[in-house]
Amino acid sequence: MRRVVITGAGTVNALGQDVPATLEAMREGRCGIGDLDIRDVDRLSVRIGGQIKGYDETAHFNRQQISLYDRFTQFALLAAREAIGQSGLDFAGGLAARSGVVMGTSGGGLSTQDDNYRAVYEEGKNRVHPFIVPKLMNNAAASHVSMEYNLKGPSFTVATACSSSNHAMGQAFMMIRSGLADAMVTGGAEAMLCFGGVKAWEGLRVMSKEACRPFSANRTGMVQGEGAGVFVFEEYGHAKARGAEILAEVAGFAMTSDASDIVMPSKQGAARAITGAVADAGLNREDIGYINAHGTGTLANDKTECAAVADALGPQADRIMISSTKSMHGHLIGGTGAVELLACIMALRDGVIAPTIGYEEPDPECALDVVPNEAREARVTAVLTNAFAFGGLNAVLALRKV
């Protein structure tokens, strides 16, 4: 079977506007969550988020581009530039046709929708800019990455709420493994931190007003983030032949559906995805050293996830480290798995396990080693990254050191 490796990584998120800055923040256990700076924030009851501060779109894109690029597309393009730059790939000729882009997002161009609904409903305008549809569509980011880098193979967008980018990366992985493509640009992007985006989440009563404290007994819910993570997945032989630097191997992937409840997570569904990813990678559960948790900081997710890990890994659950970096960058919804994959790469390559910050009180229902508050040095050779979405759709990737 063809093997798949990662040869490029890029990101922009609340912790940093590139991979080195993000990994440094994760190593230092820095918190990127703070007061939201958005229009009408005074009408929100949730006023914190993992917002990218000091982001100036005009520093990166010209006026014509901005008229077509929603904030989520901008994030995707910036992350793709870093990832493809690192990979050193030039998508020309035959390689272009054998390369594609699969991106995850949940809200797509939500800020564009928010702005334009405001214009027509609140301000009573009867006219909107001609590019609103191509700007807000969920596949805009994937399409612009494809156009910018001449990626002419299989390209589309996956929307499975909080699992979107893990599902997207899983598709990219399977396409290379099965021979459908030789290289794939993949990950996820999200920019939901606008008035309507936060207001909708507020309604569900699961958002924290003060901090994201995954696995801590006094946790008060999730905190939204924004940004993108993008990677270059490449067939192992292809990467090896051109002497590319290999960041990690994508070894396995599994996805399951709870088929039970639209918001409450299921231990069985999550455990089946974890077990499936380990098996698909050809690993034993004893090989797993670290799990990047879904770890949203909600009452329901964290205890269900810990129970699922315990079920799936058996005695090994007491030996692994599991952390939630959402405590630092917030929950990027459809982009979250992509940014969290960076913590997995850091664990495998640098031997540094990103911490779960904001941890204050042990919860007997989350009795695993959650790497509280400080990063840890540890040698791990195989890791998992979990994503469990509203709607009961679960996606877990397994990575291995190369």
Partner: protein, 88 residues
């Protein structure tokens, strides 16, 4: 909807539980009435809309807020207090 605050709260809870108002007793919990966590969040939304109040409730810390949801009576009393505080 007219009637006392308590009657209106019971009306909202009964509707959520798909029960007749006369089948809802003050000492019952929402779980007794078959209302799950989503139903609870919906009921709180309906209460906020009905009385134009803000209810302090976070589903992640259901017992730690100022809003006692342990029984129908407790909810009615909490709503009476919130209406007084916010519209008094």
């Amino acid at each position: 909807m007219t009637g006392t605050i308590r009657d209106r709260v019971i009306g909202i809870i009964a509707e959520q539980a798909v029960l007749d108002v006369s089948d809802v007793r003050g000492d019952q919990s929402l779980a007794d009435l078959g209302i799950d966590s989503l139903g609870l969040v919906e009921s709180i939304f309906a209460i906020e809309e009905e009385f134009d109040i803000q209810v302090p409730f976070n589903a992640n810390a259901p017992d730690s807020g100022d809003f006692d949801i342990s029984s129908v009576d407790a909810i009615a009393a909490a709503v009476e207090r919130l209406v007084k505080d916010q519209h008094g």
